[in-house]
């Protein structure tokens, strides 16, 4: 099987403009191995809160199907997220909840990698282990390692440009993305 370009989408768990995790998301393309193309996924900001009655009455909202389609069409998904209250931000989890209800559930069999940045010392470890748990139920293939926990993150970005300047972090990310490319090839359904 000749190497084809891998299309990977990135989902950011924070909505704010100045988000450190959004800065990480933007830092990824130049750190990706050759042959991996990264694109930001459609936003979940406008998703209503999940309600099965809404799903039954009016179907899946447009933004939900847009995100689900992007996940389905991608070879892999990278989730870059902050930790809110020791766990998954409600908005991100709500998006996962909506998408999980679609027939032909898009995370099933999908390679997923996780990253998190936090001003605190653990770098988002708790949110990632909680996300792993949700991904087990969704039957996704989550890359085990390398793990990316960017702790004490404020000093690792350029104050003005938001560029990820910490060299060690950049190297870890490079290693993870290279491992993710191999992992995607390894678990991809052989058609």
């Amino acid at each position: 099987m000749a190497a084809k370009a891998l299309n990977v989408i990135t989902v950011c768990g924070s909505l704010r403009k100045g988000s450190f995790n959004a800065m990480v998301q933007r830092a990824l393309p130049p750190l990706a191995p050759e042959g991996m193309v990264l694109d930001a996924a459609p936003s979940f900001a406008a998703f209503p809160l999940y309600n099965a009655d809404v799903q039954g009455a009016t179907g899946f909202p447009g933004p939900v199907t847009a995100l689900a389609d992007a996940i389905r069409n991608a070879d892999g998904v990278i989730i870059v997220t902050p930790e809110y209250n020791f766990s998954i931000p409600g908005g991100l989890k709500n998006a996962i909840d909506w998408v999980s209800r679609l027939p032909s559930q898009p995370f099933a069999g999908k390679p997923v990698a996780l990253q998190s940045a936090s001003p605190g010392p653990l770098g988002g470890a708790r949110v990632q282990y909680d996300l792993r748990r949700a991904m087990v139920f969704l039957d996704a293939f989550v890359l085990n390692k390398p793990e990316i926990f960017i702790g004490s993150c404020a000093s690792k970005f350029d104050e003005k440009t938001g560029e990820l300047k910490d060299e060690a972090t950049r190297n870890f990310i490079k290693q993870q993305l290279a491992a993710f490319a191999k992992f995607i090839a390894h678990v991809a359904a052989k058609n």
Partner: protein, 191 residues
Amino acid sequence: MTDKQLDVLVICGSLRKGSYNAALARTLPSLAPPGMTLRTAPAFAGLPVYNFDEHQAGGVHPIATAWADALRAADAVIIVSPEYNWSIPGGLKNAIDWASRMKDQPFAGKPVALQSAATGLLGGSRMQYHLRQSLTSIDALMFPKPEVIVAFAAKKFDEKTLELTDQPTRDMIKLQLEAFEKFVRRLAPRG
């Protein structure tokens, strides 16, 4: 503080009408000890997904304010929630995320008990362990046991009326609410 009537707020994590968890929440007043009065929390259904920029620009959303005010006024809280994708429903977590960002953060020092119903074997317990973790991080006083984990819910509620008909479950809830009352009176500084 022994003789004051306890004012307990009940929060339901599901939005749909036919929810087993909503049915469970409705059962509680008939099973509560006499010293405990139960109130339903204002709805969080229309609360937008948390975005720090919107919070800064527009202040706390009125739905979040109403929810938090109800929390602050209560002596204790009972959260009755389903499990979505092995974790906390995004909508409920989003409301908690909003509350966590407020001055006079409403969960701090608040006694909280958990309940869940689910049609499967584990009865929503995975959600409960995540919720404990998350609320502990914002200084809630999590009531340890007895736990109320209602498995195989479809068999335990009347198909038409959604009345909780399973007697062992009703007995377990009574035990929990009695123990929760003792826990609240032991801890609560209000008087």
